[in-house]
Amino acid sequence: MTTGFMPPGGEQYARLMQQTWDGWQSSLRSQTAGMNETGEAQIERTLAGLKNYFMLLESMQSQLGDAQPAAAWRDALGGVFGGGQPFTTAFADASQIAGGGPQAWMQSWQQMVVPALSGLRETLSVPGIGLAREHQERAQKQVRDVLDYQQQMQRYNQLLARAGRLGTEKFEAKLAERSEPGRQIESLRALYDLWVDAAEEGFQEVALSAEWREVYGALVDAQMRVRAGTQQQVEQVSRELGVPTRSEINTLGKRLHDLRRQVRQLQAHLAETQPRPEPGKSHSASALASSKPSASKPASKPARKAAAPRRR
């Protein structure tokens, strides 16, 4: 018979762990008191990513006894890892880490707009007439696009939830495999790593499916329609105010790009009509460089030292 981890006074232990987490977080905040806001935000993000792991340590106090039913494991770990929705949590983390991400962008948009939508639903199919007809049509489409985006996001979240359930099942199976002498898990970290393996396997199974492909594509398309509609509205206002628009810059960029391409083609054509070098001089620069655009240039002088690559 093995001995599990069930210290006496479980409630006190739980409180201790919570206090430890709170104290630790508070301590780190105080350490960053002199840092700027960005620095503090970075610390907060780091802590958010680690909190799940730390809370795992906390939760084990009442669940690590002998012969615990599978459901108890699932409940305990599910509670720690995002309430059984590990991917929602992880994706939210990713949005923060990635400086906003697509979900964060839409969330902020919806916070502004969605509250106003409820009263508009019934007007979405009413055709516009008169001078403002096109404006009304655009506004209606924008609302329909937002509602569609919400629907697609709902389908997407359902798949994430399914992946979460699959991960939990796989975790239980992995735990069952460890119920033999010599294979038991002996550290909280090993338990966490096992859960991560299971969660990723569950996610992979769903994310490689044809259903995911369809839902993911629909979600991306829905978000792009909302973005495009917003851009269209902004451009409409900008034009009225005489502010240059993205579309106008795009047009200029496209024309310039086409022009550069034509110049290159002409240069290449000219090069082909030039007299070829005599045999024996085939390694000359003119023979090797098939087309040398005027915009390009060899570096004028070597860098004195290896300059660090920089975003331009």
Binding site: G4, D66, G101, Q184, D193, K292, A306
Partner: protein, 356 residues
């Protein structure tokens, strides 16, 4: 039946305490981390065009007098993964072995670059960089080493302008984009890429990174940072960790038109292996590639699974085809200790047998 857990309470408390102390102490180390960057090897810029730079690395080993190698990296992320730091550098090891190494840095496209197409990249920038290297060395042909998306570019180039190449090395390069374990492909197959690019213009780097992070959402957003605590008390290791983080997230936006074509033709229609890709109106027939090829892929690559890279063998026309299967992942193939020991030497040895 035994419990799956055999965790000693005292050890568990020690584990918690140790984790907490490491993190707290590590915060001090984080504040003390000095400047760090990537791009370890000495180099000079030998050619500029628009936002691209052609770098020539300065030799460190005994020059072997061999034909130079030009590295063509992917457009996603910067190419400095191949020269991340002195002791984790494919470039540094190749230089030590006497190879002459060039590399293209594609730069950071802005919205003025959104109209750049694959033709501009492959038959434009890449071709002119190859000409520059040929010209500098007075050579008809050079060696090309393409990585990931840059490997796909290299294959297109070899099919269309193969007479300028002596040998082709592809690393973690997708060829068949429709294998069942290719998650990135599955995610892109049904999106409306026209709507996507028309809306976004260029594809923001943050959006690309968000996508990559969510391919392994728990491992890359949580577990990685739990693991970070393990090295927080080691200034050298935390610097290495942060350097990698910087490389991951300091990435360029994607020029819209090139992205559109790459997703449509390569990911969605899988045209590369079908011989249906067209670059600047010229059809890319992999079967026309007759030069020697070394195809290196990573067995645990979640971005370009081996199943996507291996089909190159049956698609190209060369009779001199070699595969190197590396035990590692998409990034580990450049920076792991095993990679330092195995990959540069394999490239050097393979090239040595095929000098023109």
């Amino acid at each position: 039946m035994l419990s799956p857990l055999r965790i000693d309470p005292v050890k568990a408390l020690q584990e918690v305490d140790g984790f907490k102390r490491k993190f707290a102490a590590g915060m001090q180390n984080l504040r003390n981390v000095g400047d760090f960057d990537f791009g370890a090897s000495a180099r000079e810029a030998v050619y500029h065009e628009d936002k691209i730079t052609l770098w020539h690395f300065k030799p460190t080993g005994k020059p072997s007098g061999r034909m130079p190698i030009l590295i063509s990296y992917a457009l996603v992320n910067t190419p400095w993964m191949v020269d991340l730091q002195a002791d984790r550098s494919l470039v540094a090891r190749l230089l030590e072995l006497g190879e002459d190494v060039y590399m293209i840095e594609w730069g950071y496209p802005d919205l003025a670059d959104r109209w750049l197409t694959l033709e501009d990249y492959i038959l434009g920038y890449l071709d002119r960089c190859i000409d520059q290297v040929r010209q500098r060395h007075g050579l008809e042909r050079i060696n090309l080493l393409g990585i990931c998306e840059g490997g796909a570019f290299s294959l297109c180039y070899a099919a269309l302008r193969g007479h300028k190449l002596q040998n082709l090395i592809t690393m973690v390069t997708p060829v068949d984009f429709h294998t069942p374990d290719n998650m990135l492909s599955n995610w892109t197959r049904q999106m409306d890429v026209d709507l996507f690019v028309d809306t976004l213009g260029n594809v923001p780097a943050d959006l690309m990174n968000w996508c990559y992070l969510t391919l392994k959402p728990v491992r890359l957003n949580q577990q990685k940072y739990v693991g970070m605590v393990d090295v927080l008390d080691d200034p050298k290791e935390i610097t290495n960790f942060l350097r990698m983080e910087k490389w991951i997230f300091d990435s360029p936006d994607q020029a819209g038109e090139a992205f559109r074509q790459f997703i449509k033709d390569f990911y969605q229609a899988n045209k590369l292996i079908k011989g249906e890709v067209e670059i600047g109106g010229e059809r890319v027939d992999l079967g026309s590639i007759k030069l020697p090829i070394l195809n290196i892929f990573a067995e645990q690559d979640h971005l370009v699974p081996p199943s996507a890279a291996r089909p190159l063998r049956g698609a190209v026309g060369t009779t001199d085809y070699t595969e190197l299967s590396f035990k590692g992942g998409h990034i580990g193939i450049y920076v792991s200790g095993r990679a330092q020991r195995e990959v540069p030497g394999a490239i050097h040895g393979w090239l040595g047998e095929r000098q023109g």
